[in-house]
Amino acid sequence: MTVNAIQETDLAGLRAQNHAAFANLVACYHSQFKTVARSIVGDSIAEEVAQEAWVSIFNALPGFEGRSSLKTWLYTIVGNHAKTRLRKESRMRPIEEVGKAASGYLSDEPFNQSGHWDNTPALWEMESPDALLEEKQLRHCIEHTLSILPQVQRAAFTLRDIEQQSLEDICNILNVTNSNVRVLLHRARITLMEVIDHYQETGEC
């Protein structure tokens, strides 16, 4: 069962607090919950915050009215739990430095003075997504890069590119501004692209 497999038919089971339906929801979303919690409260209590959110969700499910999508509703709850916990414990939110990149696509390096390509984008020998998915080493490189992305970048990537949440909802869930979320997403995507560029060139991460 994948994340997308939560169907309307499951919703009735969830509203009735059916154990199997709820366990399926946990299987699909728990990792992403931790990613969101981690980006707000840090790694040490992310698991705890995610579990607290699940308790609230379980108790609130009978009253879920469907005014937003189930996903958005779930992520809003976990985001709210994390923010409350942050306030309660007077924790400082991990702040990400947004300095100028020294190299790569986000720097001035690949461009000439008029802003046109000096070093053109790397040629990819393999471009088909199916062929790229077959590359075990590349898969490992991407997994590793995802694991070391700054936590707020990772959360923005998860919410937008995996969960297809709107930028507006992501701002609310993570409590960041619209321009911030756009910068975070762009940095995450460019970092991943540069990893693939490097792999295409060298066969290594």
Partner: protein, 81 residues
């Protein structure tokens, strides 16, 4: 006239459809003219799809992990009541 660096800087906004129409138009016009930026955008989109696919596959919990989380949730719920 939009240059390649501006296109790279706006690639996410363009992909997420969060740009005003006149900027979308200038990006599309630039893409018609610039083979390197077309390649950049193609790779950029493939990166997003590929990375999201791989991340999604890894995020599914195993049955054992689900049981562990469910036990913790139940315990937490009974403590709160």
């Amino acid at each position: 006239m939009l240059n390649c660096k501006s296109l790279v800087d706006q690639a996410s906004d363009f992909t997420d459809k969060s740009l005003p129409w006149h900027r979308v138009l200038s990006i599309k016009f630039h893409l018609l003219m610039c083979v390197h930026c077309r390649r950049f955008m193609r790779h950029f989109r493939t990166t997003i799809n590929l990375s999201a696919h791989i991340a999604k596959e890894n995020e599914q919990l195993s049955d054992t992990e689900v049981s562990e989380v469910m036990d913790s949730i139940k315990q937490l719920d009974s403590e709160q009541k």
